[in-house]
Symmetry: C3
Amino acid sequence: MQHLAGKEPRVTAEPWRQQKKQSKHQQRVSAMGNCCESCNFFSQRKNTNVRVSLPAVCFVWQIAMIILFGVFIRYDEESSSRWPEFRRSHNITSDIENDFYFRYPSFQDVHVMIFVGFGFLMTFLKRYSFSGVGFNFLIAAFGLQWALLMQGWFHTLDLTTGKITIGIESLINADFCCAGSLIAYGALLGKVSPVQLLVVTLFGVTLFAVEEYIILSLLHCRDAGGSMVIHAFGGYYGLAISWVLYRPNLHQSKRLNGSVYHSDVFAMIGTLFLWMFWPSFNSAITDHGDGQHRAAINTYLALASSVLTAVAISSMSQKKGKLDMVHIQNATLAGGVAMGTAAEFMITPYGSLIVGFLSGIISTFGYLFVTPFLEKHLKLQDTCGIHNLHAVPGMLGGFTGAIVAAAATESVYSREGLINVFDFEGDFADRSVGTQGGFQAAGTCVAVAFGLVGGGIVGLILKLPIWGDPADDNCYDDEVYWEVPEDEESIPPVLEYNNHMVHKHQDISESNFSVDQS
Amino acid sequence: MQHLAGKEPRVTAEPWRQQKKQSKHQQRVSAMGNCCESCNFFSQRKNTNVRVSLPAVCFVWQIAMIILFGVFIRYDEESSSRWPEFRRSHNITSDIENDFYFRYPSFQDVHVMIFVGFGFLMTFLKRYSFSGVGFNFLIAAFGLQWALLMQGWFHTLDLTTGKITIGIESLINADFCCAGSLIAYGALLGKVSPVQLLVVTLFGVTLFAVEEYIILSLLHCRDAGGSMVIHAFGGYYGLAISWVLYRPNLHQSKRLNGSVYHSDVFAMIGTLFLWMFWPSFNSAITDHGDGQHRAAINTYLALASSVLTAVAISSMSQKKGKLDMVHIQNATLAGGVAMGTAAEFMITPYGSLIVGFLSGIISTFGYLFVTPFLEKHLKLQDTCGIHNLHAVPGMLGGFTGAIVAAAATESVYSREGLINVFDFEGDFADRSVGTQGGFQAAGTCVAVAFGLVGGGIVGLILKLPIWGDPADDNCYDDEVYWEVPEDEESIPPVLEYNNHMVHKHQDISESNFSVDQS
Amino acid sequence: MQHLAGKEPRVTAEPWRQQKKQSKHQQRVSAMGNCCESCNFFSQRKNTNVRVSLPAVCFVWQIAMIILFGVFIRYDEESSSRWPEFRRSHNITSDIENDFYFRYPSFQDVHVMIFVGFGFLMTFLKRYSFSGVGFNFLIAAFGLQWALLMQGWFHTLDLTTGKITIGIESLINADFCCAGSLIAYGALLGKVSPVQLLVVTLFGVTLFAVEEYIILSLLHCRDAGGSMVIHAFGGYYGLAISWVLYRPNLHQSKRLNGSVYHSDVFAMIGTLFLWMFWPSFNSAITDHGDGQHRAAINTYLALASSVLTAVAISSMSQKKGKLDMVHIQNATLAGGVAMGTAAEFMITPYGSLIVGFLSGIISTFGYLFVTPFLEKHLKLQDTCGIHNLHAVPGMLGGFTGAIVAAAATESVYSREGLINVFDFEGDFADRSVGTQGGFQAAGTCVAVAFGLVGGGIVGLILKLPIWGDPADDNCYDDEVYWEVPEDEESIPPVLEYNNHMVHKHQDISESNFSVDQS
């Protein structure tokens, strides 16, 4: 540091930039040396070329989807041109009673959560923003088509015609179904190839449809916002995969496993769109009328509450009370996850605040203590901390739902309200609220079990050395799967270009260098 | 500048980065020197540690909210499970007539304005984006709970049961109520601690509920989009606080009081979401049917008009006609503020254009001349220029509303329309439009007075030396209250890490340095 | 490269920064030299000062709008205070049947697409983000007012009163009308002045209203999402202008014609909001009930499908299968464009997938091969590649619509459905589906012709040397029309400022330099 005291500095101020240029060469050299020999050797074997596999999967898949859609999927009565006849024959007075007008605004909010919310939340890494938002985009577009089929076969297949009919509610459910796999992506962020993500999504959507069928149809649970079927399942699914794919030498990519200033601001776009639209998420497929209305209010309150406790714990945990962006970006959302099941129940406004209060605390504690513990002792690498944002709050939400269901009374709900809210009709007309509570709790366990077992199996599949995943010292880096433009600093001056006309993707700063030395 | 003329440069190109490392030490040294001794001395006394106060306020507050919600707040008829009974008993034909479907899309748009709009508008500073969007998030989540209680006590408290019932309209009003405090944050941006902001919000929401009760209930004014109750109040509230908290040595933080290229682009996200959703803001709580419809149209037109005049004045004000991002980010919104009161009236489409035309001009002139004047001569530091975007256009909007109300005629509105729009029912059945205009003008004055007096008092409270606010040379800096990641340039090469495994928050570039010097 | 091999580097690491400071001077010097003399000479002649022209156009235009709105534009029955009377007289049972509630959520989604979607999609250039999002904002706000008038004169002018009445559908149509000109902006991005853009918009909106009248009213085509009237027209309009304005020396600005890391992430905000809300775009003005419902479903499916094929082709086209952000940002949207006409028809869900499948492939191929070909051989510079995203998929969508219309049968649509969907009423009651298909194809040709001819003429107007467009070596640069803040790296340390108090827009790093040399 002498040179700062007045002496002539002889070093360049940006040594890393020069090293960057050498790094490829030195990497190979160092692999011959004593440090990390085996891992570098391993990394040389890794082939991240997806030029055959990625297009092949996309094309085969999309063509399969077209065929299956051709065989199975049709418009339902409310989206078909026969709607005017249907309306008249069912004495529906106005077009406004088409389900479209009940659910389309919520659908669009959910859609924003899936693509912008989840996508931008995952842009927080300094050099993995393209993959964060881009692969999220790819796998959601891939998964939602399969979800329409899988959920259709389980829920709306007409056995007489062999057709599935779809409407706006199907689209919401398809988006929900993708959410499970996108949550799993959070644990795997930076460590897998896009082809692996498509495999995760293919199995994730399939498993989702099965566990959803068991929980909602067989166990007759209520789970409007998916604390169980989406968050607990998706969370443990991702964690199990990540556990199987444990990388002991991941520290070699540590330099890139962190944020920079502006990537954290990008991630706040994701956080806020998730936070704002979570009331729509939890109310999107609840009952018309009071069901949607109440679910939105409860979620709104729980989210507000978890912001305050997340901030409080974050501030307490640091010297001088400084806040950590990781907590603000994630733990503030825990209230929405934990209200997924109970949002449509008469949990009362203050009950919602309590749920948000607790989940904000638990989630922030998870980021502070549980994630480091899991990584160190359970060999579980969880890039986005989905354990704290989805797995645990989802499970908490499932059990909250069980308790609130078991505590329901006719005096609070009214007789008709009780039947409406818990759908005590048909085969389930005689079910008591206590029994319902028990089934709700059982449903939560089913979701967790499906996540863990399914994730374990999928993890093993992903260990096959054919998927093009990155080497341990190459994780969290967009350069592996994307054409990445130059950094901002390398915008060169006018003069330079009049001489050289350097090409777009060439290393621009290098050419500047030589000019300067002359 | 010799080295630029061809000589060999011997200096490093990024001196500031090296200095950054010394700066803490040198800051203390320079405090012993001759320059700025007193202020640095003062800055050493400043304690920005909020590790006790911030969590304490959050926890105490959130627990108080849970208790008060438990005592007071219940679902209303439309969000309770008793809705099907209510519907039948009131001959409501369909669930679609639940107020949820009239207002939920507007609610979500308002919600986006509060959290993304206001939040991202305040990310424009080069190193205060975390606080801009993060504290906005915190105080809105904090304020909206208190707003539900305060507004409930004043407007929907059922005296027989002692309960407040809430529905979707309550949530919109709670968001509106927070907006007043968020506007005030705009004047204080960069100069206060999060604890101070919570105090600003606590009093801001309380004052808001009182002035709103006086203006809307006692004076029976109409103010759908809150030109008076939100913008004029919030603007003068923030200005009064800022005036009391005047910092004569704020120039010491001048280096950070400005934008960088990408922070200006982030701020445009805020601007555009505010601009696009302002029609929803002004129409969210107006009458069903024509009220919402007309308010949206009028606001849409006024906003378009103010974009053109803001651009025109911005271009005129600079040599070569270059545009200034400050004007584009802010003055383009003035039309929405100024239409807050009159949007639901029959102001006519061209009347809306005129309002936007004038407010765009006035607001841009404010940024060019009034803010510098206020800072120099009135000792009023207004970081975001809320004087020009909220205070003055809000007041203008209040008086516009008064004039339009006074000019209302039965031939334009129809008899029934006049009663509907101005709510001339009950005690106010005999009020003339002229009287209404007078009361509207009086309401504007009440809002301004509440802002100025309330802000003055709150400012004095904030002067207590217990709130952890930053020193004068430490303003506009996220590092005071946030764990800030390294800058983008310090992404180091692969090699480095294999040797050192530098920790996440360690000064990375420093270690690079030592390697390079060898 | 010697210094990288261990020798002491004596150069500064950021030579371009120093050169930047010299560049103005050297630019002039080099103009005297042998390199690029003529173009630099030419650049000195170019006057980019818009201080008179831009404000003049804005003011004159806005005042003209106020006068014309005063003469022509009034509220319609559903947005006027006479709505309660109208409702009663027309036996409308509830306020919820006001068109506002059918269309407002879609309107807001379209609004977001116009301002955030188009705006942020154009922020991808490294130093043109201000202009991308800012000029998009300006010309949309400018154009929508003129669109309300033009479309009103053609479609809703009441000849007895001489008035145009507007409601929520008018606002959607005005936004649509602007979209044509915003598409054209995509081809011109970086090469024109804001005044030129206002001229483009003025003529663009005018031409749009005429071709729309011919296609929708005279030819009685259906084109809900505007494949023909918006995308094919707008695309060819922009391409024709760009062809006329061909700049042979544009390579002089090549250094700025590319993205940096974070500008690509900003552009993804635009992409995603366009992608997510495209179902609202295509369903915004379709028939109440099944029309809106079906259009949303079809568009949702087509978009999902085009994501997969765009990714597949993008990956196939690069060594190692790396994805290119240009394709992900643009070609993924082609499915939405191509479904613009057929979305409201009974195209079937698998039909939608096929449309998305093909358009994703065609669009990505366009970016890979057609745009470079056009630039090289047809002298057509298309900054954003609107040829591949709008022109071709729009034309494809028009012909798809023609085929789907011609293939319509009563057995699929039902008799009533067929009349509803194709509006076979009044003068067109006897039109067969085959004839309709022919007219749809003819409509597509009309749109393309209007774009090409209109664009050619407007291009000639823009060649007049009075509009303040930038020189060839000054394109893609915000500095020409904006006050641009310093780069991020120049945030200086605390110490510096206590001594110097450098002013906001001064070159900060320069002052650091001198300190360091001492």
